[in-house]
Symmetry: C2
Subunit: 354 residues, 2 copies
């Protein structure tokens, strides 16, 4: 006998589903109408939504598919257009480090690395690959580096800048040990700040909008670099190189000065450092150029570059196909030809042994 | 009848107490022995311990008591020694904002403000006071501003830079509304990052040591300033001034450039801003000088100051009696006399209407 034959029933929790988030569009005022129509209710995992989208609009492959997902179109639109010698394919899957399950993310990393080797690297000698690992389980990450690093076109290990613990912590050292042993630099890339198992995207908590979230990304790099240097990663792994991708540049003199000053007073806490923190940074770190800062007075950037020995520490990056792409023709025009040669080509050629 | 008369008893949770943390000293190796002997197991609430202590060793009052707690000795050792016209007493209790109970911290704020007015401000015309409020309950904070702001020697409201939500969030606006109404600047001061109810002291999580924690403090100011500007605090409160105390200086050009660049692309998110973010910063913000950055090449700091119009945005601070005290005779020697006049005196005189 059914309960309803003898009892009246009220169910107090029944979920009516949206067919799609856009069902709400007719009921929304602007500017929310446009946002939800374009991107639904969430976006970018982080919930921080860019009003200009995440992609350069003209990078959509003519044959369809996601921007940046067609090797041939990338070869034409980026490498041929700007006559590039090599490009480092950094993918987007460094974001797996923000996900909670370390076994799942280790599996995704392996799948991506095999896909990269099978479907991208053979397409052009100009393609060089950054293999991805998840920082969720550093021992599994080290095992993956051992599995993949021998491939001649894999020239870097990429991880997310967003972490729950700063990257200098010793739990991450197996990753650095494996990378150093195979002669691969570690690249760190933003984008997952505030998602998954990471903390708030700023030390002050969660900002409201993408413009703030994006502006704040540089702070993650300051915190990570401070941690890596102070924890003695470059003392323990003297041949390790660190590439800070897309984290901004102009903050570096400030950080080096502040850290060096503190070192002079507080070096008892980091007795393994036998030189100024800035010296380890100069010897072990590279920063990518995009998104390049654009002061009102362009000479200010040049003055700042002088303070950080920029011609030996910067490497060009475009961030193709993302919205804030920098073309090599558009940036650093005021630098000397000699400095531009290093930043556009020689620093990367030497670092990646190309 | 007692249970023990019929049952044998094992108690599996009995706490043997240390008489004092120093009981462990004989059992510790160096460097931990020295640390625990000096400071016990915790320190500074944050757990980040400074190997040089928190205080300038010679600031201990001859009559006893905590460094900086004797008005007469401060008058002699600081104001007379350096012939200062005025000093702003900032106290240490901005840290109450990190405590969880908003009623308790509102009571502590009121008690401190009454103590400041009763026991410090009458001691010298040169003493000016920063009243403290807890950001834990912004409406109670606004009420406290209304209660205290009329005192002629209260010239500022001070809060902690460490928050769980960025300071631009609208929950804090009652504090700004009250401060603006009374013509008092809001000062923000570091020190409680990572304590109480605040988040991790960096976006990357918890660094290990004081040297990292202290270096990272500047990032909190970048995040807070980005939030305050983007949330339109200076549009809503056009006469409000913000004083960033002890958060570093040399990061400001970077932040203004990055924020202005993002504004140009993403201004749809912040339509209330009708000018570049950097213009709001220049019009509404002041930074204190200590701890001043010290690049290897002192000219680099002057070049950086030029990029941020430093002579109109900086105000001198010593941080007396803390360990990293800057004497007015020791800093900014390479600036023009005109710029030093503004930074040492005129900017503060104008801001605080002295």
């Amino acid at each position: 006998m059914k309960v309803s034959e003898i009892l009246k029933v009220i169910d107090v929790d029944v979920h009516n589903e949206l067919k799609k988030p856009q069902d709400l569009v007719p009921y929304l005022p602007e500017p929310w109408k446009t946002r939800v129509a374009a991107s639904g209710i969430g976006m970018m995992g982080s919930g921080y939504w860019s009003p200009v989208g995440g992609m350069r609009k003209d990078t959509k492959p003519p044959g369809g598919g996601v921007e940046g997902s067609d090797p041939d179109y990338m070869l034409e639109q980026l490498l041929e257009e700007y006559n590039m010698e090599y490009v480092v394919l950094t993918g987007i899957l460094y974001n797996i480090s923000a996900t909670h399950d370390p076994d799942f993310t280790a599996a995704i990393a392996s799948a991506y690395n095999d896909y990269l080797i099978a479907e991208w690297l053979p397409r052009s000698d100009k393609f060089k690959g950054a293999m991805v690992v998840s920082t969720g389980d550093p021992l599994l990450a080290a095992r993956e580096i051992d599995r993949i690093a021998g491939h001649p076109d894999i020239i870097e290990v990429i991880i997310s800048s967003a972490t729950r613990e700063p990257l200098g912590h010793r739990m991450y050292h197996p990753i650095y040990e494996a990378a150093e042993r195979h002669g691969l630099p570690i690249a760190v890339h933003p984008g997952t700040e505030g998602t998954g198992g990471t903390g708030a995207p700023t030390s002050a908590g969660y900002p409201t909008r993408y413009i703030e979230w994006h502006t704040n990304l540089s702070q993650m790099f300051m915190a990570q670099l401070t941690s890596v240097v102070c924890e003695g990663v470059f003392v323990k792994f003297p041949n390790l190189k660190l590439v800070l991708l897309e984290g901004g540049i102009a903050w570096l003199p400030h950080l080096m000065w502040r850290l060096d000053k503190n070192y002079k007073a507080l070096r008892a806490q980091v007795p393994w450092l036998t030189r100024l923190p800035s010296e380890y940074i100069r010897d072990h770190c590279f920063l990518s150029t995009q998104p390049i800062e654009e002061p009102d007075n362009p000479k200010d950037l040049i003055r700042l570059f002088d303070m950080m020995d920029a011609e030996n520490i910067l490497m060009f990056s475009s961030d193709y196909p993302h919205w804030d792409f920098d073309a090599p023709d558009a940036i650093l025009k005021r630098l000397s030809l000699e400095a531009r040669k290093k930043i556009f080509y020689e620093n990367a050629k030497k670092l990646y042994k190309l």
